[in-house]
Amino acid sequence: MNDSQPVAAAEVPSVVGRYRVIPLIREGAMSNEHSAVADASVQQQLKLPGTLVEDWHDRAIARLGELVASRRGLRVFLDTCTKCGACTDKCHYFLGTHDARNMPVARQDLLRSVYRRYFTFAGRFFPWLVGARKLDKALLQDWYNYFHQCSECRRCTVFCPKGIDTSEVTMAGREILASVGLGQQYSQEIITKVNSIGNNLGMKAPALAHVLESLEEDILEETGVPVRLPLDDPDADMLVVTPSADFFAEPHVDGLIGYAKVLHQSGIRWTFSSAASEAANFALFTGQHDHMRDIALRIRNAAVELNVSRLVIGECGHAWRVAYSFLDALVGPMNFLEAAHPRAQHICELTHELLESGVIRLDAERNRGKVVTYHDSCNVARGAGMGNIKGGQFTIPRELLVASVPQVIDMSRDTTHQRTFCCGGGGGLLTDDLMNVRIKGALPRAQALREVVTSHQVTHLVAICAICKTQLSAVLPHHDLANVQVTSLHQLVGDALLLDGNKANT
């Protein structure tokens, strides 16, 4: 046996994960998985029917008709699928559950077959020839159950030769369901809280102020530096909007502390807003465009109110997709932003800019002993860019990690970058009543993680999305990966940062 051999061998991923193998089908395995339907009071606050309406069939078909007429993309996506099968084994929920209806093509077909029956010539007159069918109660139930087993992550879209965006079909399905009285409690309740209080948690301004003060105390104790986390500062030049989970949950809050340290060192005058204390936009998940606009408008209004010239978004996957791809369309033009930064920036982009220009310095040795790998969040990887460089959404976070930690290892390339697997809890599925779906859906990510844990003794899995952090912390123990610490990227950046006056510097 040659002792030096394994060093070279370890560089090549040798474990073949099951995400490369198409599983045997278990028909209907997940047909009874059911996320709670929204309470009447929640639906009514969103101006939607409280319970399933009597004429649900006619109203669902009418709404589908309106959607295909107004969303051209949706119609193209419904028309162009040839059922080639390229997407079948690309979905983490199919790979984890083995339920054939979780193949993206089959899940979409729940809606596509109805569209054909009512809105295409062949489907109207020869339904048996084209797989067209009428909407009945059983199918409506399947819509509800299976459209809440899709995280709208769009991995299947990467592999679709026609470029069909499956998430648009899921969103349309959920939108129709909500319009006949079958909204999902988890997402819809959150939207009512953003509308009434300003964030998903339902955390009011006094509680938020208390959390921020308490964190300032903690940082002062740790570093000896009076790092501030300002709220509604009228003299700020920059508004930072972050997912409210950053104010509440672990490991999110450690990332928040990291933002504060970086911003302190930058010298920028910045603030949070109590009126827009939420970056997330759950209406992207429910597919309701008017709600999406209302939520985005809170951010614009707060920025205008505080008279800031820069807008920065914290570590939240779908918030970044909305901010990067849709903000102008929803509430633009964002013409109050300064010429040098004319659109919302990602916190990673800002930190990267500060690092490149030498305003901040990072010392990776401060994270000695950690071996980290990076989980690309789906909405960042496939729904947005970052910085002004192609592929910045992949390179910027990784460059920050390399500057912050001595050892950074990538997972297998067919599970990262554009081909990243969803954490299993995105798209409005991060609710305890879908825990079974969440655990199973995390399987491919867990398999890829296990490879690098085995080959490189990875200790930390880094994410830049509040959902990914919560979900992975909750489900990795079910995949025997409890020892891997799920971590905010900015926690590692904050720990590596050379903070002027820090006790640790001496």
């Binding site: 709670a36 309470d39 409690q185 988890y186 309740e189 959150i190 809280k193 964030n199 998903n200 948690l201 339902g202 955390m203 009011k204 006094p206 509680a207 208390h210 959390v211 308490s214 964190l215 903690d218 997912p243 409210s244 989970a245 104010f247 509440f248 949950a249 672990e250 999110h252 809050v253 997330a280 939240c316 991060l430 305890d432 009543d433 509040a466 959902i467 952090k469 919560t470």
Partner: protein, 108 residues
Amino acid sequence: MSALIDTLETDHEGYLKRRSDWTAALAEELALADGIELTEGHWEVINFLQEYYENYEIAPAIRILTKQIGKRYGQEKGNSRYLYELFPKGPAKQACRYAGLPKPTGCV
């Protein structure tokens, strides 16, 4: 056995809809159903949660909870490992349910 919880209005995950319905006996019953006998340590947490909710209309962030419990009852209690020993399903969710607080919503 007629359970107290069955006579009260709850959400689909068993959290009380009206905080005014809460009683200490209910907390004991809910914990017992999970195989937990409430000790003084549990009550320190439950009492703090209720007090915090009274002031801020939301459950405390985990970091605030650990810090305050540590300050009040000794540093050996001011960490999440201790809290998870008391409430294995997570102090935020399980302890909130026993305390009669609504479940935290969002990406948490």
